[in-house]
């Protein structure tokens, strides 16, 4: 079974703090993703990585950065947390796409971040 784990289920931080969210997958997937989920807005892609040290901005990258030093680990960094970054953060991973087929994305359990 594919397993995607996230470092925390719940996290409470203060405005201005630097926040690290970590994600680890055990299936040797090339692709890893960070989404945030807010009511009524669905899942919005923050950043995407298709290989070690490679990253691509998603739809809402402002205020976030990422790091992928090892294939199995993808970190999301909030350099200076703000209250509008209070949200559910979901990590996912998948194999590389081929042709018209897109591989399944496997999601972690999510981290509910509250910024006070």
């Amino acid at each position: 079974d594919v397993k995607v784990t996230q470092s925390s289920r719940y996290l409470v931080k203060r405005t201005g703090e630097k926040v690290f969210l970590e994600c680890v997958q055990d299936m040797d997937h090339e692709n890893m993703f960070w989404y945030r989920q807010d009511p009524g807005l669905g899942l919005r892609l923050i950043y995407f990585s298709y290989d070690v040290k490679m990253k691509e901005k998603g739809d809402i990258p402002e205020g976030y950065s990422v790091s992928r030093e090892k294939k199995e680990r993808f970190s999301l960094i909030l350099e200076s947390a703000s209250t509008n970054q209070t949200s559910m953060y979901l990590c996912a991973s998948s194999f590389m796409a081929s042709g018209g087929w897109r591989d399944t994305q496997y999601f972690g359990p999510g981290t509910r971040l509250t910024v006070l």
């Binding site: 669905g42 995407f48 298709y50 590389m96």
Partner: protein
Amino acid sequence: GQQVMQIPQYQHVQEGEDFTTYCNSSTTLSNIQWYKQRPGGHPVFLIQLVKSGEVKKQKRLTFQFGEAKKNSSLHITATQTTDVGTYFCAPGSGNTGKLIFGQGTTLQVKP
């Protein structure tokens, strides 16, 4: 960028009634996936559609991809309380592994 509109946003049904959610795009899609997220859980893959006019069934769930590959639907026959959750459509984006998730349809089933 590419966007999809998913309707309705919410649906309340009586157990045993049918349910349908629709996913519409203004551009032609190469493929589309569907995911289900149970309350308090994370999205879980249900199915992928690739061919024009494709219809796939999983027990009481029927998935369709439009002939023009601009829309898709998920139909649940005779809903059960276990069907409760949010259903997302997610077309592939570009030539990478990215997906564009719709806003989701949240289904509530009254026993």
